[in-house]
Amino acid sequence: MSTQTETNDTFPKLLRYNARVRAERPAMREKDLGIWQSWSWAEVYEEVSDYAAGLYALGLRAGDKIAIIGDNRPRLYWTLTAAQVIGAVPVPTYADSVAEEIQFVLDHAEAKFAMAEDQEQVDKLIDQKDHLPGLEVILFDDSRGLRDYNQSFLWNYEAVLEKGREFRTQNPEFIERCIDGRTGSDVCIMLYTSGTTGQPKGVVHTHDSVLITARNAAELEGLNERDEVLAYLPMAWVGDNIFSFGQSYAAGFCVSCPESSDTVLNDLWELGPTYYFAPPRIFENLLTTVMIRMEDAGKLKQRMFHYFMDHAKKVGVDILDGRSVGLMDRIKYGLGELLVYGPLKNALGLSRVRLGYTAGEAIGPEIFEFYRSIGINLKQLYGSTEAAVFITIQPNGGIKPDTVGVPAPDVEIKLSDRGEVLFTGPGVFKEYYKNPESTADTKTDDNWVMTGDAGFFDDEGQLKIIDRAKDVGQLNDGTLFAPKYIENKLKFFPNIKEVVAFGHERDYCAAFINIDLEAVGNWAERNGIAYASYQELASLPQVYEQIQAHVEETNRQLSTEERVAGSQIKRFLLLHKMLDADDGELTRTSKVRRRYIAEKYDVLIEALYSDKKNCRIETEVTYEDGRKGKLAADLEIRDAKTVAIGAGAAAQAAE
């Protein structure tokens, strides 16, 4: 492999290499016309060569940008490599972007070419063409509905291939020359980050940064040419570029594209990938679906299911991690595998998964453990666009639900004084395109990148990410206060919907809590407790008891972690209304608007930091029909037991 690193230092070279050593093995698949149409590495190489020549013939040159807009399609992936062959830079964009967003990216990137998936995307481009003087050629993959489009700048993919073939017969050495002429330090791809604030930034990566990172991780995890992966996440996202492109080229495995975004679940099931990435949200939804579907099963089946799931909870993870487990437990687990876990994994399309990743946000430990306990090797990683994904990966055999693992191969990590995570390594990006200030803000001269995330290492050297660095504060006694970390811990309880924690420049930590109407309502119904509204439900003493138990459990967990042990929740209250985007309390993407809430409910906050047992509040609410109204309530404030630092750990050890 090491000789390969030197000789195959760009993706086109790697493609050529794969076309030689695993010519007949499948490189790409797409569910189309009812079956999984396949292309071997040799075929892909041939097609990409024609395509690259065609692009060149149409006027694409080294350094030019070619935008890619659409869902995961083989031809869109080939556009990446074809552009790279001639030294042009592919710029994938999000397929669901509106025309204006696309216009911004293409304009900023100075895209000369654009490859569009279908009529929908072509329409967006044509719509914005007047504002994009640099855009010369629009290619499209699926010609459906485009028959009557006779603009001269529109090119059908097939026509480009045709042109490429022609060009190659006249210049037979062209492709080889192009490929050999590039090196690893050339720009490979530009990925626009959909930053939460401000305009997207174009992250420029070289072949080296993407390829070495991809290969390192592939070697670490033992990915090989027999692996299967389903490409269903946006091409513009760095993860897809690594999992469905970079690592496929590096390890030689096949990438499969689903039939459409509606059929992903079924396609996943058919394909049965061995290597699978999904954000926590997907795993969570999947688990919910499993539980809901099981509700409809017969009594006996349900009992069997829960019996074996409980057993998996007990020993499943240990078995997966190869720890010693008693023979009886093993036999029982084997039976469970036959009756529950195996069929379940099969039904989810995950039965062949050797390696699953999740990242992006915190995953609930229950959810994470659920998948691991039924034998799916799910791991968390921590990454970013600027790192070509991998910063840390959970090590095999040392997986803990609340850490993101140890540094990826060749990656170094350090923490700033404020607790911010910094990394350096082969995957560090080159620059933000046309944005030297941001580049300088993010990347130091000696190649360290600031992630903007606050974290710390636990005693086993595994990184824990606790919050965005800018949100992390300090209690008056100097203890670290990471609101999101605390809130997430609480939100993992099904009964808790939303939490807002306070503590920055205060004496202790306190919280507003929203209960989950569905979960708690369900519980109330089952126990014959009547309630008329959310407000009433949230004020019930029994509900307070439950939430208090959750808070105290969270405190116990916090107490085991040295860095955050001081920020246990002393006092909390249950809000009388759901935090709502309509009232400006949440963003449209359901993120808590901390400052606004602090202002709006300052009375409550003051009460939390006094010794009051109750507090009256009157708030304006917006009803669903747009009417406004007043809501008044007298809220109970409770004290929660905290655990002495270290005592929690001792208690845990004693269990």
Partner: protein, 361 residues
């Protein structure tokens, strides 16, 4: 539960249109066929092979035949017995008069003759449907049986009218004895099994090809079938021909490999009903159902007659016969009400359950 289909994706139409696209099923069927060929002759005794497996397989062939006509093409027939008889008598004629032909050829010739007869009695199906057609097939049932018993040519002027089947080798005078009283039960069983397996395979193939689709099209909606260019008469007659071929082969095998003589009583109207029941209970429009139905209907009376013994009860034989009638009647009604697609559908449902396991749907 036992299915692991994730990752079994198809990269070509050939694979997607295969017979058993789920590997589990494929292995199961291969295993079953292997057992039928190797295991069964080893473990089965004279009674099991000779008195159960052989007749069940033969009846399954006839049931497949009727299923092609009734289950796939939607044409009701009450003349199965007569078409079986046609096969038996013609196979006998060929085997005795053209003795240079190997016996499998004689049996196939019986099927061929039956196919011709089937076409003849299928002609009315162009103009009539349902019960009316049932009458036409009843005419075949009574007329043909009368013909074979009253025209001595068919039995080579045998005085008893029930000629015995000689012992034939597989190929004229080469190979093991496969028919007649001297043939070993294993040889006869394997001989019948080969026919059953190949005919089942052929039926499945036809069912998934053009011809099967045109049968089903005629069955489901003949008017719509016509507008897409399906010729009704041609399609119905092809169903009659192929159906009768299967019945004819079954009839010939019955005479050659099971009862060792050409006995008209074996092909009476009761036989026609018996086979009709097999496909109703087994499953209309299902090859698998033909086998399940044949086994079920054939084994039911045997089980019923053994049952009191197993339970230590003393029930007179004639009571059991009456019970058999009652149980049969109730079962037919039960299946029509509860599962009109028969055992094959139950099997399907069970399979779906296993595929969805642990989810209920």
């Amino acid at each position: 539960m036992i299915y692991r289909e994730a990752g079994e994706f198809k990269t070509s139409y050939a694979a997607d249109q295969g017979l058993l696209t789920i590997p589990m099923d494929r292995w199961f069927v291969i295993g079953l066929v292997l057992f039928a060929f190797i295991g069964m002759p080893l473990v089965g005794d004279e009674y099991w092979l000779g008195s159960i497996m052989i007749p069940v397989l033969i009846l399954a062939i006839a049931a497949m035949g009727l299923n092609i006509l009734t289950g796939y093409a939607g044409q009701l027939s009450l003349g199965t017995g007569a078409f079986m008889a046609a096969g038996a008598y013609m196979a006998y004629k060929v085997a005795t008069n053209l003795s240079f032909l190997p016996v499998p050829v004689a049996i196939l010739a019986g099927g061929g003759f039956s196919a011709m007869i089937g076409v003849l009695f299928g002609i009315p199906s162009l103009r009539i449907k349902g019960f009316y057609l049932a009458v036409a097939t009843l005419a075949a049932q009574f007329f043909l049986l009368w013909l074979f018993t009253h025209v001595d040519w068919f039995v080579n002027y045998n005085l008893s009218g029930v000629p015995a089947i000689a012992d034939y080798h597989l190929f004229v005078d080469w190979g093991p004895l496969v028919t007649g009283a001297q043939a070993s039960v294993e040889a006869r069983y394997l001989f019948v099994l080969v026919f059953a397996v190949f005919l089942a395979l052929a039926a499945r193939n036809m069912a998934r090809c053009k011809i099967g689709r045109s049968w089903m099209a005629i069955r489901d909606m003949d008017i719509a079938a016509e507008i897409i260019g399906i010729r009704p008469l041609h399609t119905k007659l092809s169903a009659f021909a192929i159906s009768s071929f299967y019945c004819g082969v079954a009839g010939a095998l019955w005479a050659f490999c099971f009862i060792n003589n050409v006995e008209p009583g074996a092909y009476e109207i009761e036989r026609s009903f018996q086979i009709l029941f097999m496909i109703i209970i087994g499953g209309l429009g299902s090859i698998l159902g033909s086998f399940l139905g044949a086994a079920f209907i054939f084994l039911l009376p045997i089980t019923l007659s053994q049952l009191p013994g197993w339970l230590g009860l003393d029930v007179p034989a004639d009571v059991i016969t009456h019970l058999e009638f009652m149980v049969m009647g109730v079962l037919i009604i039960f299946f029509l009400i509860v599962e009109p697609h028969g055992l094959a559908r139950l099997w399907q449902i069970a399979k779906e359950k296993l595929r969805r396991w642990p989810f209920p749907y």
